[in-house]
């Protein structure tokens, strides 16, 4: 044999006796080794050995044989051992379980301990049921896990009950008490079997619920994308020959998608108040949709909501200025810049279009400019229009914000001395 054989990353799947950590062994490590290999609790194997030892000493014999096999067949305990993955040796494990149960039944019968068949068989069935349920793989889920648990419980309860009924048919008086003990034992066994399995099933259901929530979320996103983005893409294809309309559709969709992705409606916002930024974005989207000119909004200091009544005339004036720019300036876009200060909001609406002469009273744009100025004045703010032919137009809006507390304080201190 070559000194270096294949060092495959995959563990060999075969029946072998595992070396047992000295801390895990009680006597020779035979029970722990068997338990590790077949994937059951060492206590089950140890209990079996004890019962068999009491049953005419067979347990001791089996133990010595197992220990000898362990020492002879697996002398190199330092060799790497890959535990056979749980569930990959189901045939072996089921075989072992069946053997153990059979051994237990036979042992109990031969010793008899004052027990009769009335006890041996129900207990045997319950144990068999427990073991069937315990052989479940960790990653096993859904139907097969349920099947296994149900099978375990059915074998335990069914077998036990059937035997009790048989016994009861030929019952004498002492059997009645015995019956009670057996019934309690069966119920206890069912509880032991069912509890961990039910917990596991509960976890699985929880997992499934999360999966479903995720699927729902995906469906929601898909539905939204279908209603918005895919529709717009279809529209764009139909309007492919009209670049202006295409660009407008794309901008509209971009705006809408950004809002949906990054600005979900916040339920905590107070009614009657609004963010200046989102109010202006809505205005920009509307002007773009109506007049086909992109309106770019930049906001600074937009940290909290502002009372709706203060914002409304301001946004209306900004809309009028933006519409004016979109309709008359010939510029390819309109810039809107808003800055919120502690005591006021400033908005600038600017285009780089043809502009006009504010002194020229005949110009219709001047009339509109005046209406913006009048609107702002009525609302307690100011509006200034800067324009020059060929230099574009900029409308400046300033709206003072009533800061309730500082104003009162100032008045009080003034009247004090």
């Amino acid at each position: 044999m070559a000194p270096v054989t294949t060092t495959s990353a995959l563990p060999p799947v075969r029946w072998q006796i595992p070396p047992i950590d000295p801390e895990q062994r009680w006597i020779g490590g035979a029970a722990a080794a068997i338990a590790t290999e077949i994937g059951v609790q060492p206590l089950v194997i140890r209990g079996s050995f004890v019962v068999l030892a009491l049953a005419g000493g067979w347990g001791l014999v089996f133990y010595v044989i197992a220990w000898a096999a362990l020492a002879i067949l697996n002398p190199n305990l330092r060799a790497p051992y890959y535990p056979v993955a749980k569930g990959e040796t189901t045939v072996h494990r089921h075989g072992a379980v069946a053997m153990i149960v059979l051994g237990l039944l036979l042992g109990l019968r031969s010793v008899a301990f004052g027990f009769s068949d009335q006890i041996v068989f129900p207990v045997g069935f319950v144990l068999l049921g427990i073991l069937i349920a315990w052989t479940r793989r960790d990653d096993e889920a859904g139907l097969s896990a349920v099947t296994r648990t149900v099978a375990g419980v059915a074998v335990g309860v069914g077998g036990g009950t059937a035997f009790i009924i048989l016994v009861t048919l030929s019952a004498d008086l002492t059997a009645a008490l015995l019956l009670l003990v057996v019934a309690v034992a069966v119920a206890g066994g069912v509880g032991i079997v069912a509890a961990p399995s039910l917990a596991r099933i509960g976890r699985d259901l929880d997992h499934e619920r999360q999966e479903r929530a995720r699927a729902d979320e995906r469906a929601l996103v898909a539905a939204h994308l279908h209603d918005s983005v895919l529709q717009t893409l279809a529209l764009i294809q139909r309007h492919a020959t009209d670049p202006r309309r295409t660009a407008q559709l794309a901008r509209q969709q971009e705006r809408e998608l950004r809002t949906w992705l990054y600005n979900p409606p916040s339920p905590s916002s107070q009614p009657g108040t609004v963010r200046i930024g989102s109010a202006l974005e809505d205005m920009a989207a509307e002007v773009d949709a109506t007049h086909g000119v992109p309106v770019k909004v930049i906001t600074v200091g937009d940290n909290s909501n502002v009372d709706h009544t203060a914002i409304e005339p301001l946004v209306a004036a900004a809309r009028e200025a933006a519409v004016n720019a979109a309709k008359h300036s010939g510029a390819n876009h309109v810039d809107v810049f808003a800055e919120r200060y502690d005591d006021r909001i400033e908005i600038f609406i600017r285009d780089t279009g043809r502009g006009f002469d504010p002194a020229d009273t005949a110009a219709d744009r001047r009339g509109i400019a005046q209406s913006i100025v009048a609107r702002m004045r009525r609302a307690g703010g100011t509006a200034t229009v800067h324009s020059e032919p060929g230099q574009g137009t900029e409308v400046e809006l300033i709206m003072p914000l009533s800061a309730p507390n500082p104003t009162t304080t100032t008045t009080t201190t003034r009247s004090d001395p």
């Binding site: 950004r258 930024g277 770019k296 930049i298 600074v300 200091g301 390819n332 800055e339 600038f348 600017r350």
Partner: protein, 210 residues
Amino acid sequence: MIRVVLVDDHAVVRAGVRAELEDHVDIVAEAGDVGDAIDAIVAAKPDVVVCDVHLPAGTASAVIRGVVDRGVNTKFLALSVSDAAEDVIDVIRAGARGYVTKTIDGGELLQAVQRVNDGDAVFSPRLAGFVLDAFSTDLDAPADPELDRLTAREQEVMRLLARGYAYKEIARRLTISIKTVETHASAVLRKLQLSNRNELARWAANRRIV
């Protein structure tokens, strides 16, 4: 001619940018992800890299750091659809000389590339707005007054940029030279890159896309 490398994971976007720029600059290489971009930039040593902010397995700041680690000196212009403050601030602080959005038109993009190549800063109105927002809180005790505050003039320049003014319009309005406007813009960029004020990072993280 200015030698340019294009980095964007969408071939369609690269083709579009190439079509807009190739008559005026020399596009020496293209790349679609962080690793390829670093290799291409190190090999080509371009004057300017036009780089998308979001790339597969990384961002433009990873490209900038990777290139700097390999000892290559080049200038970056970030180009992105994302207007998230966090991304913008991150890429500027990694060393990009400017940030523009993909909706920029061809002429403006060319101007931005030329300006970055000249060592100046490029502020889109959006980036100028971010800067104003990030530096708006007054500090009682700034750690470094030189870096943590904008001067009144710098604020004025940023406001006009945010209002959509071009450099030459700002120069005319403030009756200063274009070179002076550029000096102010570069000074603000430097503050943005070097200021350690905690508010900057926190602000960028909290600020959502408009």
